[in-house]
């Protein structure tokens, strides 16, 4: 672990204390996990604490862990992963926070901390259906007007449910159930760790 990452991990422990549920350093990147209850506080501290000072939120995305590793999971289906960047210290951090309820996932919005997160949270809401209380404009963003469902959930088929075409009889564009069969050319395989001696 380089000196820089060590300093960052040290500062994280120092300022966030036991609000950091886990801290992992892998592949030259630091990842912390926080509880949904502490999420907003932690994010605020990450930006404002001069020894951390993450001025920029680079990215925020949602992950649906339901089929991770091809095994059935219990609890903690949805997580939000954000990537922070500090311009002054030149370091990065990944923050992961699991939403409590699988049926109605919800996490506080961090729009008050970084304005850049606005569209990212809209995107997560649109694609995965995680709601962000405190976000003042939580509309769909990438999918079509009037779209139903959250397409990036693992139980949403890749071909979707409806398709659109022009109907010459009704002389308008109509939606109908998809006519294509979903097919998988290369199956998804998870090999054991020692497979092929790599």
């Amino acid at each position: 672990m380089s000196a820089k990452l060590e300093a960052l991990s040290h500062n994280l422990q120092k300022h966030l204390g036991d609000r950091v549920k886990s801290l992992k350093v892998a592949l030259g990147e630091v990842t912390i996990e926080v509880d949904a209850a502490d999420y907003l506080d932690v994010m605020q501290a990450l930006r404002d604490q001069p020894e951390l000072s993450f001025e920029e939120l680079i990215d925020l995305c949602g992950v649906d862990y339901s089929t991770y590793g091809n095994v059935q999971r219990v609890g903690g289906r949805f997580a939000v992963v954000s990537h922070l960047l500090s311009i002054s210290h030149n370091w990065r951090l990944r923050v992961r926070c699991f939403a409590m309820d699988d049926n109605f996932p919800s996490l506080p919005s961090v729009t008050s901390v970084w304005s850049s997160v606005n569209w990212f949270e809209r995107e997560v809401f649109d694609l995965l259906g995680i709601v962000f209380p405190g976000h003042n404009d939580l509309r769909r963003i990438l999918t079509d007007y009037g779209f139903v469902g959250h397409p990036f959930r693992k139980d949403f088929p890749i071909s979707g449910y409806v398709e659109m075409r022009y109907d010459p009889e009704q002389q308008r564009v109509i939606y109908q159930p998809v006519t294509i069969e979903p097919r998988e050319v290369t199956p998804r395989i998870v090999r054991e760790a020692t497979y092929g001696n790599v």
Partner: protein, 417 residues
């Protein structure tokens, strides 16, 4: 007294100045924009969802189609992320080739940008000149990969193949005689490096030509100066990166600050703006082209002197040599496994970012050890920049909206993904 109401105007999605399929709902008070609400997603193809259903190598060509103006830079971020997860080394020559093509891509992107931006705000000639130079660079793309746009040239482990020793020539036809095509073929008579060497030799002069047309042009300055000012504090709050951040006066460039590949061995400067308006961003991008030109020249010199492999010899990742495959059982098995099942990437997560011509382009990969990514997230710079549209256009005139869209350099392939 009649009741006065703000006027709502629908801008796009088929507006030529919208740079693709941007639909904006503008609330106007007279000619002053009070609020802008960009509606995006008209080009949404769910690239990230598709990638979850494709092997690691199959989703690479999708990267070209994100920002379809700077194709190879997108591939670069993806390859870096996969290589980080696999923890493999890329041969040095491949790193130099990647850097050279990243910078060629930057010039390609900025040329298209200056042409289209000029077109939007009334400098019609620019696009003709810019496309003249782009032609040579897309020829370089074609020479290495066979495609002028969607190259799929970078691969996890290196690049697809080494630089070619000869380029296709213009042929004599009933419209062009041998004497007429001779000057066209002069620069093409040698290798690709000779061709690029000729290009970097004449490009600074051409840039001077563009600058004579624009930089001190009264109309150009009237349209750009003091339009869309972003303060450094707001730029950080808004998550800006690349020329948008540097235009606001923050000297942040991943090539210098978090160097990847061989950028730490190369000599180049980072231009920084002062006032954070559209004109400063224009100046930053023009200077970036000069710096890219410098980098390409340094790469050409290095590549001439240092032949070597361009692809990792780890055959769990990179396919083996075609010849060897036909005579050797081991290689045949590797090839078969790679083409049917694909790479197996160890469990873990990685985020890799490159200094894309538009800003920080990042790929976040989450792998559960399968032959397909578990989750891929594309961090597109244009998405973040466009989200600041409302803040940037507030209080400006309707015509300035076009300038601001242009100066953000948005491309919908990457925004809508």
């Amino acid at each position: 007294m009649p009741e006065l109401r703000n006027f709502t105007l629908n801008f796009g999605p088929q507006h030529p100045a919208a740079h693709g399929v941007l639909r904006m709902v503008l609330e106007l008070d007279g000619e002053v924009v009070m609020r802008a609400d960009p509606h995006i997603g008209l080009l949404h193809r769910a690239t990230e969802k598709l990638a979850e259903n494709k092997t690691w190598i199959q989703s690479l060509p999708y990267m070209d189609r994100l920002d379809y103006v700077s194709m190879m830079c997108n591939e670069h971020a993806y390859c870096l992320a996969v290589e980080k997860l696999l923890q493999i080394e890329v041969p040095l020559r491949a790193q130099y080739i990647r850097v050279m093509f990243d910078e060629i891509t930057r010039i390609l992107n900025h040329l298209l940008w200056v042409g289209c931006h000029g077109l939007d705000v009334g400098a019609m000639t620019m696009v003709l000149y810019a496309f003249r130079e782009r032609e040579d660079l897309v020829d370089a793309y074609e020479a290495v990969s066979g495609a002028r746009m969607h190259a799929a040239y970078y691969r996890p482990g290196g690049v697809y193949r080494d630089l070619p020793d000869r380029l296709p020539q213009y042929q004599e036809s009933k419209w062009k005689s041998a004497a007429q095509i001779k000057p066209f073929n002069e620069a093409r008579s040698g290798s690709l490096l000779d061709f690029l060497d000729d290009f970097v030799g004449r490009f600074p002069k051409l840039l001077d030509e563009y600058e004579t047309l624009l930089t001190d042009n009264r109309i150009w300055k009237q349209r750009l100066v003091n339009v869309g000012i972003v303060s450094p504090e707001r730029a950080l709050q808004r998550g800006f990166s690349g020329p948008m951040l540097r235009g606001s006066g923050i000297a942040w460039d991943l090539r210098k600050k978090q160097p990847y590949e061989v950028y730490d061995r190369l000599d180049f400067d980072i231009p920084v703006g002062v006032s954070g308006d559209s004109y400063d961003r224009y100046l930053v991008r023009m200077e970036e082209m000069r710096q890219s030109n410098r980098i390409v020249r340094q790469c050409i010199d290095w590549l001439r002197q240092n032949p070597g492999p361009v692809m990792s010899d780890n055959h769990k990742v990179a396919p083996p040599d075609r010849e060897a495959m036909k005579s050797n059982m081991e290689e045949l098995i590797h090839h078969f496994k790679l083409c049917t099942e694909g790479i197996h990437v160890p469990e873990g997560e990685a985020y890799s970012a490159v200094e894309h011509p538009k800003g920080e382009f990042g790929i976040y990969l989450l792998s559960d050890g399968a032959n397909k990514p578990y989750r891929l997230k594309i961090r597109a710079p244009g998405y973040v920049h466009l989200s600041a549209m409302d803040e940037m256009v507030r209080g400006h005139m309707l015509a300035d909206v076009v300038t601001i869209i242009g100066s953000q350099d948005v491309v919908f392939g990457e925004i809508d993904r």
